[in-house]
Amino acid sequence: MSKDNSRNIPSTGREALRQRQQAAATADRRVSIAIRSAWIAGLAVAALLIGVTTWSIVGARSGNTANVVAADGLVTPASASDSGAIVIGKPEAKVTVTVFLDFMCPYCGQFERANGGALAAAINDGTAKLEVHPMAFLDDASSGSKYSTRAANAFVTVANNNPDTALAFSQLLFAQQPAENTAGLTDATLADLAAQAGAPTDVVAAFSKQAYQPWIAKITKQAFDSGITGTPTVRINGQAFTGDLYTTGPLAEAIKAAANG
């Protein structure tokens, strides 16, 4: 808009025209600012949504946000200790009870029946934490269904995603423990028991991925390599527990002694 074109318009008219043009320009600018702001806000929300989605995919691929996935695809559960144990209970608990077990092993079942209640009580009142090494060396004793591995995988999945229900799930697994040299519990029964223990549907549905099988094989070998000769092997604060594993009382007393000592 050059000055020459507007020279013939009377000064009041020229002024009015200029004001109208200015008002129109201001309105245009406002609209384009509004549009630009909408786009910026929208793209920010889009980035956020993509971020949330990606994050939960990445988290789920490894079963848990903090799982370690090695180059060879080995998925290590986030809640596992370096020694290959799933830790249940308060990390700061004074007493650490370590149990090497196989969910198919009958003596592990006996141990659980004798001491499950006392262990749960010590974990719940914060006296002790439990380190479970869910080994799978009795796969050959389940008519080809690899029950030890399937049960251990289910247990690790629950412990990793929903730690509060892991102890109850483990107790149910032993309460319903199948006899050796049977096919063991079906996947459907494992899922039912986990749901009964309070694990959410999506955690239970993740059993079928069998994500932790390689890790379970690894920690089983690691346990044998470290000198474990059978299950259950029980340690209290790292010391082998040599008392009677199969009657109620001795383990509870040992825990109490360790807590006071």
Binding site: V31, I35, A38, W39, G42, L43, V45, A46, L49, I50, V52, T53, S56, I57, G59, A60, R61, G63, N161, A191, T201, D202, V203, V204, A205, A206, S208
Partner: protein
């Protein structure tokens, strides 16, 4: 350079060819999914425990969704509605690509009916998500394609002034569409739906 590409893309998005092609493809997807779900409904009616191809696990299961009361809200499988409605959309899209222009009242009626369809599709999505607790891949495809058909239909109806809106609303709506804010809105909407599904079911899906 980048500006040139962007403005060409924006021009393309406002063109009849883009809008009606999107509508056509989305309606074809919807029709396919409706057909599969209708066949599944018949199989399930004959044998409620039939193993459907998309029953993958406890969560991804057309059977669980298909056997719910919500899946036949009007006394027959919902998917039949898709078999009835989508061919009309396909016809509109093909005819429009061929140069036919429909009267305003016709396009308005299409908009009204399809809006009801969209509401129904999302009601079903929320029922499946919160109440039934299972994912059905074909149902999700219908949710997606219904959204896209609705978007393209709304786009063209706003652009062509088919909605009998008051002047101010019409001007605002046109400005909104011209600034491609409708595309932004739908993209956010679909991302939101995807985020809902993925955050709830990530452990099962991946």
């Amino acid at each position: 350079m980048a500006d040139g590409v962007l403005s060409r893309l924006r021009g393309l998005r406002q063109s009849d060819r883009w809008i009606y092609t999107t509508m056509l493809v989305s309606a074809l997807l919807s029709l396919t999914a409706s057909f599969v779900l209708s066949v599944d409904a018949i199989i399930l009616a004959a044998d409620p425990r039939a193993a459907l191809a998309c029953n993958i696990n406890a969560v991804i299961s057309c059977g669980t969704v298909g056997a719910s009361w919500q899946a036949s809200l009007f006394g027959f499988p919902n998917a039949f509605l898709g078999l009835i409605a989508e061919p009309v959309v396909i016809t509109i899209a093909v005819a429009s690509l061929g140069g036919v222009r429909f009267p305003r009242w016709f396009m308005l009626s299409a908009q009204v009916v399809y809006t009801l369809g969209l509401v129904f599709a999302y009601w079903l999505f929320f029922q499946a998500y919160f109440v039934i607790g299972a994912l059905c891949p074909w149902c999700l495809l219908i949710t997606l394609s219904t959204t896209l058909v609705f978007t393209s239909l709304t786009h063209v109806n706003i652009r062509d002034g088919n909605l009998y809106l008051p002047d101010v609303a019409s001007r605002l709506a046109r400005g909104f569409v011209r600034a491609d804010l409708d595309a932004l809105f739908v993209a956010l909407w679909l991302l939101g739906v995807a985020a809902m599904v993925v955050t709830k079911y990530a452990t099962v899906l991946f």
